[in-house]
């Protein structure tokens, strides 16, 4: 039951955070000189034009009233329109078209980063102070220091045969078989291996680029947590009992070290999102990251609000899930009850 209570607390807190975040964005946008109307009409617009637009869009109402209206629209599944894009498309349609691309990219990056990062960290911990440790830690330091956009360009330079933009070859289309929007999965379901190979060729370089920073951080933390755990008394006890070193490493040290690593995953989500924005720009990947950048650059506030809402919600939700996971993994947290955990991340 505790886990349910905790889940409920986290959910309410997440929702509150999201509403506050949205309000801050909403409020800040309306504080800009001239507000959204000037962004839309340009600096040369006359006062009358601006007034007319403000009235038409409801931007002359009190901010709180606009905010409540926006929230109730959101609750009804209406995120408004991207009013600077040609044809004023609905933000929700745009987001649902672009979101799967970002999900596919981020998931592939994490599928690379987690096993490789943990593996590298384990190697480094097992060979502490010797050359494999130094090599891994050197790579990890470089991995967090090289700008991700520069790394993407370097990879393109190193593999000139690989496609550098988009999700598919231009002459191919997924339209007829699209279901989830994740091209690798859709093409497998439809049995279109030509599409699958094109999609995966386009995915590899962006995914590798995006995976580097989480991979480096996961490797470092795995190493340090393992080293700390390996010095604990229960490890010595297991060794004294006669368990082999490998057995101790895998069955005794790893489960204990898993707890901080799961919490770490939550912290990596922000890195992943920032990385996705840059990776999508370098590889012209049609996802949310590029969308939110363009919205910020063009001051398309309708689009910006929608994207912040979606990304914020996903981010907060995933963080809550990871907290619950850490709770399930760590018997100490389970015993101490949900209330003090609910006040903040355990990391």
């Amino acid at each position: 039951m505790r886990i349910l209570a905790l889940a409920l607390i986290r959910f309410v807190r997440g929702l509150a955070t999201l509403v506050i975040l949205l309000f801050l964005v909403f409020f800040a946008i309306r504080l800009t000189p001239g507000g959204p109307a000037v962004a839309m009409l340009g600096q040369r617009a006359t006062a009358r034009e601006i007034d007319r637009l403000n009235h038409e869009m409801g931007w002359d109402r009190p901010v709180m009233e606009q905010f409540v209206t926006y929230l109730s629209n959101v609750a009804h599944g209406d995120l408004g329109v991207a009013y600077l894009s040609p044809g004023r498309p609905k933000v929700l349609t745009e987001l649902s078209r672009l979101f799967p691309a970002t999900v596919e990219l981020s998931l592939s990056a994490m599928l690379l980063a987690v096993p490789i990062g943990i593996g590298l960290g384990m190697v480094a911990a097992a060979y502490r102070g010797r050359w494999p440790d130094r090599v891994v830690m050197g790579i990890a330091s470089a991995g967090v220091s090289i700008p991700i956009f520069f790394l993407g360009i370097l990879l393109l330079l190193a593999f000139p045969a690989m496609p550098g933009s988009g999700r598919l070859d231009v002459r191919l289309s997924m339209r007829s078989i699209e279901r989830t929007g994740l091209y690798l999965i859709d093409s497998v379901i439809a049995g279109r291996w030509d599409l699958w190979s094109s999609a995966s060729r386009h995915l590899i370089l962006p995914a590798v680029t995006l995976s580097t920073i989480p991979m480096a951080i996961i490797a470092r933390v795995t190493r340090s947590t393992l080293l700390e755990t390996l010095q604990a008394d229960f490890i010595r006890a297991a060794r004294a009992k006669g368990a082999s070193w490998l057995r101790v490493f895998v069955f005794h040290a790893l489960p204990v070290a898993a707890v901080p690593m799961v919490s770490l995953l939550g912290l990596q989500l922000a890195t992943l999102l920032a990385g996705a924005v840059l990776t999508e720009t370098v590889f012209t990947w049609p996802g949310i990251g590029r969308y939110v950048t363009l919205a910020a650059m063009q001051k398309d506030y309708g689009a910006l609000q929608g994207a912040v809402l979606l990304l914020g919600a996903v981010f907060i939700l995933l963080n809550a899930i990871i907290d619950l996971l850490a709770f399930l993994l760590d018997p100490r947290l389970r015993r101490s009850g949900p209330t003090n955990l609910a006040r903040g991340r355990s990391a």
Partner: protein
């Protein structure tokens, strides 16, 4: 061990060189980083142009060194903003306790629950694209980390005897915070700032790379990559020069930060 000791040394040497060249760039015998020589467009590195020229015939070496001034300065101002605001909030909240602390902590937690890049992008969208606003955006997005770190440090010392003694001797709260709390929390915050400098440079370069820092012709490392990234296949030096400059500086700051942390707090040694 000698190997480990030499890494921070090298990082220091690199940073000293980069800073010196950046500061001295206006008086060094360099070409003007803005002057376009249409005859010398896209020249590979040569004796006349050590690092080649870009698509407008501007000398890359000169742009690199002048760019260092912008990139390092932007990072420092951004860290200054987050350190100033975040540190003050954290110290005040941690010292005052009660509802002030709860209020500040909730704000910090909300900000921590939002990815920094979103804060930065919204800031740019509201304030408009310019290098100055990039500094503000990066600075704002880092505030919660500084607030949290300084609050945690303050909590660990605020009820120690020397603080109580000073209070009993009649010191005001302001005096205690300034003369007793601040010097004792400065260490961990300084480590955070050193490592934060690396990530601030990285983040501002990223925003410039996205084209959010206004004038793209300014010789700032991120903007240089923004301008030249389409040419990486034919003129690779145009992307390698600024890219390596960013990577080298950030790596050096990270190594120095790690070293400082190990020096100042042996408990935290080699934690990720």
């Amino acid at each position: 061990m000698s190997r480990l000791l030499s890494a921070p040394l090298w990082a220091g040497i690199i940073l000293a060189t980069v800073s010196f060249l950046a500061i001295a760039s206006p008086v060094l015998p360099l070409q003007d980083p803005y002057v376009q020589q249409s005859l010398d467009r896209l020249m590979p590195p040569s004796s006349a142009h050590w690092l080649g020229t870009d698509d407008l015939g501007r000398d890359m070496l000169s742009r690199l060194l002048h760019g260092g001034r912008y990139s390092l300065f932007v990072g420092m101002v951004a860290v200054g903003i987050s350190l100033g605001i975040g540190g003050t909030l954290g110290i005040c909240g941690g010292y005052a306790g009660g509802w002030i602390d709860r209020g500040i902590s909730s704000i910090t937690e909300i900000l921590l629950a939002v990815p920094g890049i979103l804060i930065a992008l919204v800031t740019i969208a509201v304030l408009g694209p310019s290098l100055f606003n990039v500094m503000i955006a990066v600075g704002l997005s880092q505030i919660p980390h500084y607030a949290r770190q300084s609050r945690a440090s303050v909590l660990s010392i605020r009820s120690q005897d020397f603080v109580l003694a000073s209070r009993m001797a009649g010191s005001s709260h302001g005096r205690i915070m300034l003369y007793h709390i601040l010097p004792n929390v400065a260490g961990p915050i300084l480590v955070l700032a050193t490592m934060g400098l690396g990530s601030a440079i990285l983040e501002s370069a990223a925003l410039s790379f996205l084209g959010l820092s206004g004038d793209p012709n300014r010789p700032e490392w991120g903007s240089m990559l923004h301008l030249t990234r389409e040419r990486f296949q034919d003129q690779p030096w145009l992307v390698l020069v600024p890219g390596l400059a960013i990577s080298g500086s950030v790596l050096s700051f990270n190594i120095l930060g790690d070293w400082l942390r190990d020096r100042l707090d042996p408990k935290l040694q080699s934690r990720g």
